[in-house]
């Protein structure tokens, strides 16, 4: 699949950490339930460190891979570290993105930042939210 990096292919065919934690410490949701890509993260955070994280996702293959790759990278990190992630970092986690796929880096960065914010502010995403 010349269209995707080997990492993207690996993650959308063998997603890691798929699912939803029963009783998460924090949850973040980004997406548009009508037409676009969606990612929901649930995580347990112990002493500021992400100990468990799961994703649910709906969207194109690259966005599924993004969700999967995010969880792998976030696992075991201090949650505030995720605030440093920018589009370029998410892209590098994915082994690169084609010109048509750039939007998933934004999606990934946004959901990661939201996870940090929701944790810090103790809020939850219970309703659909349109990503920018």
């Amino acid at each position: 699949m010349a269209r995707y990096s080997p990492t993207v292919v690996d993650h959308f065919t063998n997603p890691r950490n798929a699912g939803e934690l029963e009783d998460p410490d924090v949850r973040a949701f980004i997406g548009n339930p009508v037409c676009g890509d969606q990612i929901m993260l649930t995580a347990t955070v112990t002493d500021g460190t992400i100990t468990e994280i799961r994703f649910r996702a709906h969207g194109c293959a690259a966005s599924l891979a993004t969700a999967s790759v995010l969880t792998e990278a976030a696992q075991g990190l201090p949650i505030t570290d995720l605030e440093q992630w920018d589009d370029a970092y998410v892209t590098s986690l994915l082994g690169g993105l084609g010109p048509d796929q750039r939007h998933v880096a934004t999606l990934g960065r946004q959901v990661a930042h939201r996870l940090v914010r929701n944790h810090r502010e103790g809020v939850d995403d219970e309703a659909p939210l349109v990503c920018s």
Partner: protein
Amino acid sequence: MKPPSSAPDRPEPPGGARGIYLDHAATSPVCPEAVEAVLRGMEITGNPSSRHGAGDEAHEALRSSREQLARLFGCTADEVVFTGGGSEADALAICGTVLAARDRTPHVITTAIEHSAVLESCGLARELGAQVTLVEPDGRGWVDPEAVRRALRPGTVLVSVMHANNETGVVQPVAEIAELAHQAGALMHTDAVQAAGKIPLAESGADLISVSAHKFYGPKGVGALKVAAGVRLAPLIRGGGQERGLRAGTENVAGVLGMAAAASAAVRRLADPGFQDHRHALRASLLKGLEQAGDLEVNGDTASCLPEILNVSFAGLRGDTLVDVLAVRGVCVSAGSACHAGSDAPSHVLTAMGLPAERAKAAVRFSAGRTTTVDAVTEAAATTVDAVTRLRSLGPAVPPATRAKK
């Protein structure tokens, strides 16, 4: 606890290194007869227009190829015009008719489910001064002749309705529509790019019929337009006067020979009851296998369609995502139409049929071919069911509160 980040086992692609190809509606492999003919064509040096032995050889190759295409169309050899593909045949039929009728304000009728080559040729026709009416299909992707009849006007010069739809496989009542068009004094064009080699074209009653070699096991980049005797077209590609002045340019001798060989093979297949049984058996096995995934809908009229094309929507998925996953697992299929790959917009065909956006975006097209086996479709179906199940397990992504509200 086993770290959740360990990757699950990756299933091996089925069907060998090349996988299972179920995307024949996008393009078909070149059959051995056509490969051989193309090779033979490349040995012919001459230009068909030249006054010497080398030219005569090329000329003769075109002559015999034209007869083979005539048998596919069910027309005379004189009525066959070679083009650079199906899109060009569509452009010539539509814009050629409009340009030839330029003194009036020509009116063209087509449908909302046509291939983009027809729809955008109608766009160019509009720029050339034509008025265009789009007839909508019903919910099963079928064009009612009655709807075409209502769209006819005194100034209608052309009705263009495809023979079989490339996304749903739905076969249109072309002969009936041709009769209406003729009664109203209009020409009938049918884009038979998907139908050629699968349905006899002679009965279509159309004055203009487009075909494209690579959809019936010929090479890419060559097609033909039947232009019935007496039909006046203005050419788009002008110059050397080749193809009765309707398509200039040194003829694609090797490609035309390849297309002709493929056409002959297709005509033989059409008459073969074994082939007919096989295509229906493939569809039945494929559908039976896919149904194991549950929660799927077939798009398009299953009563009147090419058995080769099966368009299904698996609830809760995105078609392009499923196509990508299947591609990695060695099953080649397409999301709606290959021409729209990379674009997120739902198929204009499924949208015109009134399908909800979610269902249209979930659509995946399986298209079998002459060398496809029942085993292969069964295996492809099993792989698909597994992929669908895995993908469904990843979503929905909406938060619990929203889910509960549904």
